[in-house]
Amino acid sequence: MSSVHIRDVRKSFGNFEVLHGVTVPIEDGEFVVLVGPSGCGKSTLLRMLAGLENITSGTISIGDRVVNNVQPKERDIAMVFQNYALYPHMTVADNMGFSLKLRGADTDEINKRVKRASEILALTPLLDRFPRQLSGGQRQRVAMGRAIVRDPQVFLFDEPLSNLDAKLRVAMRAEIKELHQRLKTTTVYVTHDQIEAMTMADKIVVMHDGIVEQMGSPLDLYDKPDNQFVAGFIGSPAMNFLDGTLKANGQPYVELDNGARLPLTTAPTASDGRPVVYGVRPEHLEFASDGIEAEIIVVEPTGSETQIVARLGKQDIIAVFRDRHDVNPGDKVHLRPRAVSTHLFDKDNGRRL
């Protein structure tokens, strides 16, 4: 186990810079999730950490050692690939023992460690099978087993669950988290799925266009997003954003174009008349007679909760209710944001106010 420090790392492919100075400290034993939309540079960063891509500038250190020029195999890391990258011509046991075999470990040692890893992952009955004879979830576990047998300083996961179906993904998510709690190995996990990030991470690093937008614990990111991007990215369904003007004389509120007033608890000083983006999560809207009027467009019951898409002026907003309401498309309702749970962003740069 080891800490990992990524300091001002940049990456260019030719003249095209994809990472613009990324700094991420990772504590020993921490489960860090790099999350962001496609093309944000998260996989590139992971591959640089693994040693599969060169580091254009900046430093990456594992433990006390700067690994910029260290060969991948010397870095003492193990990686789980999106497509598992299992060797198709080797049995499960051979797949898991391959790295030990290359290191010249003796057969007894290999068998012992493969056996231990296969017990952890419930792979023992499958050891003699070939990857083609396994289901997606089993292959995923073999890929993890291959990482475990090496007992590395750091585990790297590159979107390991994206090839699985939804149900299996939820199961494997819990399995990976449990595995981490058991082994306590420093883990860096890349995903584009914010639910995976929220559920698994000790620390989430939200990336976008080659920069770190924000990092922190899952609930920090949910409760206090630094900017409009993080606010929109974390949480499902996504936060509603409404353009308006801040009125800060007396009890502050945000006025929409159509004159509707949205409540606030506090407002930044000397900001009256400022154009802002008002953010409210779907789960923080409630029906109230003094709310703003909206017309229901779609009602989506999921059983545990009901999602409602409502039209407010020219904009659609989404509201989620845990209790059941008898509403139908076309109904006029009054929705009120809970003032304590609202967010205010600068209209120009998207920063939190």
Binding site: M79, F130, R132
Partner: protein
């Protein structure tokens, strides 16, 4: 919009009971048989019939212009005692084994080279194919000049470099003639091996190499444990074809040496042609050609069983 369709299809009793003909007509296998007919006829007419005729002829004393009578195994008995026939068998096996082995080595090396990222990749790949594209006779003529006893560019270059004092008689001496035709065959055959293996290499997922790199494999170990085992099915196929093509080679030898000097480069195919067509003894020529079949079957069997051994390819029935 105003006209209404009034004529309904009239239902007759004949339509209600399905005739056995219409049942047969919609039978998948029956229809499939008809679809296969053209291909089947083509194969029978142009492959099976000539092969059968050839084998039949080898049991006759047919000559050009005379259909001949059945003489049993007499042609084969003659060949059994024919030193030139056995020389041609030796030549063919030598030619095939040496040329195929070297074609495989060079082809694999080229494929690995071409599989890397390099500038002008597509251009270089197409250049590699040139020897394969050039008509055999044309390249044979070029080699004929290269190997010419007086005007050989190789002899000329070596003389200029001061390495030899007199011209090498490439096609005049038995052993150097054998080596020369083998080199020409290799030159022609390498592109096929290289391009096919390259296609095989490109099916290997790059993430396997990345995984192996992280597992600590050196580039030799990546070849030994990843590339080579994953490439074996393609190798089996490409080498089967390569062996078949080489074993039955005719054009190159005929254009370069016509089997000479003193039959040193006679392959079974060229000897068969010489005896059967040039000398007109069709039966004997056919017997020589038929004698190639067991060798070819062995070559196919080896690769067939080689491919069957690989359990990992066959997938699971419990997926």
């Amino acid at each position: 919009m105003s006209t209404v369709q009034t004529s309904m299809p009239v239902r007759t009793s004949a339509e209600e009971e399905v005739s056995s003909w219409s049942r047969l007509r919609t039978n998948r296998n029956f229809v499939a048989l008809w679809f296969m007919m053209p291909a089947g006829a083509f194969l029978i007419l142009f492959l099976a019939y000539p092969l059968g005729l050839g084998v039949w002829m080898s049991f006759t004393d047919a000559r050009i212009g005379r259909s001949g009578a059945f003489i049993g195994l007499e042609n084969y008995e003659w060949l059994w005692d024919d030193a030139i026939f056995w020389l041609s068998v030796f030549n063919t096996v030598l030619y095939t084994v040496v040329a195929s082995a070297i074609k495989f080595a060079i082809g694999l090396y080229l494929a690995l080279l071409l599989n890397r990222n390099m500038p002008f990749k597509a251009f270089i790949r197409s250049i590699v194919l040139i020897p394969f594209i050039v008509p055999t006779v044309l390249s044979a003529i070029a080699f004929w000049w290269i190997y010419d006893s007086q005007f050989s560019i190789i002899s000329w270059s070596l003389t200029r470099l001061g390495l030899i004092s007199h011209n090498i008689d490439f096609l005049g001496d038995p052993n150097s003639a054998r080596a020369s035709v083998i080199v020409a065959n290799i030159w022609r055959g390498v592109p096929f091996v290289a391009i096919t293996l390259l296609a095989g290499l490109q099916t290997v997922s790059p993430s396997l190499y990345e995984a192996a790199t992280l597992d600590g494999a050196t580039s030799w170990q990546r070849f030994r444990y990843i590339t080579y085992p994953l490439l074996t099915p393609i190798i089996a196929v490409v080498m089967t074809f390569s062996v078949l093509f080489t074993f039955t080679d005719f054009q190159l030898i005929w254009a370069l040496t016509r089997g000479g000097p003193v039959n040193a480069t006679h392959l079974m195919a060229t000897l068969s042609y010489q005896r059967g067509i040039i000398s007109g003894r069709l039966g004997e020529g056919a017997a020589i050609a038929t004698a190639m079949i067991p060798f070819l079957l062995v070559a196919i069997a080896i690769s067939w069983f080689g491919m069957q051994r690989r359990k990992w390819q066959q997938g699971g029935n419990n997926d």
